[in-house]
Every structure is written in C-alpha cells, then in structure tokens.
Symmetry: C2
Subunit: 216 residues, 2 copies
C-alpha cells in the first residue's frame, strides 16, 4: 500500500482539467519516483465537505502516513525532502530551491492569479472583495477554534499570518473577532514589538541623516 | 561578527514604516534569539540597484554566512530550521507549521495584497496589469540568463514556477521568449506529461461514471 495519498476532487468541469493543483503533487511524485495513490472528495458540496482536511475548502491535500498537509506549495516542499531529484541536498542548492519555490507562490502567483481572476469575473465583480471575504471567513472559523495555527503553539506560521493580517485596511474589512484577537495576541509578543520599533527607528534615523545632508 | 545579515532599504517614506518585510526576518530572529545585523541598499534606484541579490527589485534578502536567500517566506523557513522556537522538530509539528506558512503566503496574502493594491491605485489603474507586467519582465531577464531557477538544474522550484506560468492567458500576456521557452522546456518533461494525462484521465473517467448514472 502506498504511504503517499494525493487527495483531489472526484470531478471538475472541463475548463480546469489539467490545471487542478493535485497535478503539482502528481508531477513531483513522478519526478521523484515516489509511489502514490489518488483519492477523492465529492465536487458537490466541496466548499464545506472537507474543511477538516483543508480549511479553505480547496484541493489538493497530501497524506503521508500519519501526516497530512494542505497547500500545494507545502506539499511540494514536503515531498522535496524525500528526493534530491526535487531539491539538492547541499545547503546552497537547498536555499536556492526554497527561495524560488516561494517566489513562484508569492512574487509571481500572487499577481498572476488575481489578474486572471479579475479578467474572467470582470462582468459581475470588479474587484477581489468577495474572494477576500471568503478566505478571511474560513480563517476566522479556524481561529475561533484554536489559539495558534500549527502544533498548538507559536510558530513561524503565526508570525507570517499575523504580519499578513495586521494591515489596517485588511483588519477593518468585516467584523472577525477571532481574527482580530489573534492578530492582537501574536503582535503583543515582545519580539514583534522590538522588531517593529527597530525598523521604524532605522528609517527615522535615515530621515535625520537626510535632513542633516539637506541642511549642510 | 554576526553570521546573519538582513538587508533592507536605507530609507522609505513614512507609510510603509513598520510594514517593510525585513520586519518578518527581524521578528523571527528576535523570537529565536539569533544574532543578526541589518544592512541597507539605497532607496533611490531600488528597482534596479540590487537585482543581483533580489531579481524582482524587492527587499528583504537574507545572508547567512555564504548563503543568500530572497523572499521573506523563504527567509522565515530557513531561519525556522535554526530554532524550534519557530518550528517544532517533530514531523507533525513541522508539517503543520509548513502548511500554515504557505497558506499565509498563497491562500491569504495572494488575495489580501492585490485587494489592497487595487484599493489604493483604483484612481489611475483599474487592474493588476502593470504589476504583472513588471513581475514577468523581471522573470524574463532571469530566464534569459539561466536554464533553471535554482542550483543549475531542475528542482521543485521549476515545477512550481512552470505550473504557475503555463496558464494560457498568462503566457499570452506580452512577448517573453525566454519565459515561453522555459515553460515549454519544463513542461516537456515526461513526469509533467504523465501527471497531466493522469489528472485529465481521472476527470474523464468521472464524466463517464456520471453519464452512466444519468442513463441508468
């Protein structure tokens, strides 16, 4: 029996076939020569029928023995540790692979997917408001049930999620008390306060230096 | 001398102070009790004055001894390996932390940042076209100089970047021959072709099953 299971939908319309993100995990397993099984959740009711496995109602998620991960990017980095076909084992090669994997997710896809989304929905929806509301609602549910995102304790995942959410315009978008309390809790950490004060101090010092140069 | 160096800008206007992403790396170092230095590149000319360190002209990037990484998310995952304050060491805790870190970057920030960008630029720019063009131009330059993104060979970073880029609308957005050749090269791999054929076959089988159920 295969230890790796890729979960996807049992059916999708023709448009997304060949693009559903389970393909990323299938592809990685093929490259690495890893055995895997594919299992499915029903397309009908997909927005809520597997929230215990994927809190945003998306696919894929990956099962590896007892472990389970959602987010195709996380699945890829997890699989990459199993095979140097996906990521070299030397520190420099590993760092380069990591930075470009994250660049694909956060410097390129962060722009290309919303751009594409706006193009196809322009007729009914001229901005990303509905999409953002749905994502934040899912997160609100998660944060209503747990204090931290991962492992029952503060991790780098909380650091990053709180930093993404603390932008005032995003926080002001709808009344989400669990999310609000989460952002307050994470950003109450002395390490955050020090890092923020240090950054602001850094730029204030630059202001003073600029002012001196101008007055000279 | 500190082995860790966080690179940021020497100055920014008041608006982004406390939000420039070097803060994520400062915060992580503070949490983990890691010593670090902060160094700067000039704000003036920032779009092109450090492309050899950060191919999209952004900050921060992180230097760790001989290693250098861009993308704040990659820097965080790199730092997280140095301290269990940022990521537990047990496989389940590590997998959870990884999935939620990627969720912050790709399920939440992929929507919140473009949403915010549209809100502040609506007056002059009603979609993400300029932003996408700039990101893809930077990538075109990189791909004009190297065959693979990381480590001089195929890695999971190419798998993910090619999957992000192969969407036809994105590919048709401007003439970028190096990017086009890259997508063709990466998606010519037998593993991609098998994964894609398997996914399409999976959904075609679902179609046949649905048709049988309907005709019964």
């Amino acid at each position: 029996m295969s230890e790796l299971t890729i979960w996807t939908l049992d059916w999708v319309p023709e448009g997304p076939r060949g693009f559903v993100r389970d393909l990323r995990l299938r592809w990685a397993c093929e490259e690495a020569g890893l055995n895997y099984a594919v299992r499915t959740i029903p397309f009908d009711g997909r927005e809520t029928n597997h929230l215990e496995h994927q809190p945003f109602g998306q696919v894929p998620f990956l099962k590896d023995g007892e472990l389970e991960l959602f987010e195709s990017g996380a699945g890829l980095l997890h699989l990459a540790r199993k095979s140097d076909k996906l990521m070299p084992r030397d520190p420099a090669g590993e760092a380069e692979t990591l930075q470009w994997t994250i660049a694909a997710l956060n410097s390129i896809e962060m722009v290309t997917v919303p751009w594409w989304f706006l193009k196809i929905t322009r007729a009914e929806n001229d901005d990303l408001t509905g999409w953002m509301g749905s994502r934040l609602d899912h997160l609100e549910r998660v944060l209503g049930e747990q204090e931290w995102l991962a492992a029952g304790r503060f991790t780098v995942a909380d650091l990053l999620m709180a930093d993404v959410l603390r932008v005032s315009k995003v926080r002001a978008f709808g009344d989400r008390p669990a999310t609000e309390a989460y952002v307050k809790r994470v950003t109450a950490r002395p390490s955050f306060k020090k890092a923020r004060a240090d950054q602001i101090g850094h730029f204030e010092a630059a202001d003073r230096k600029r002012a001196e140069q101008t007055s000279n």
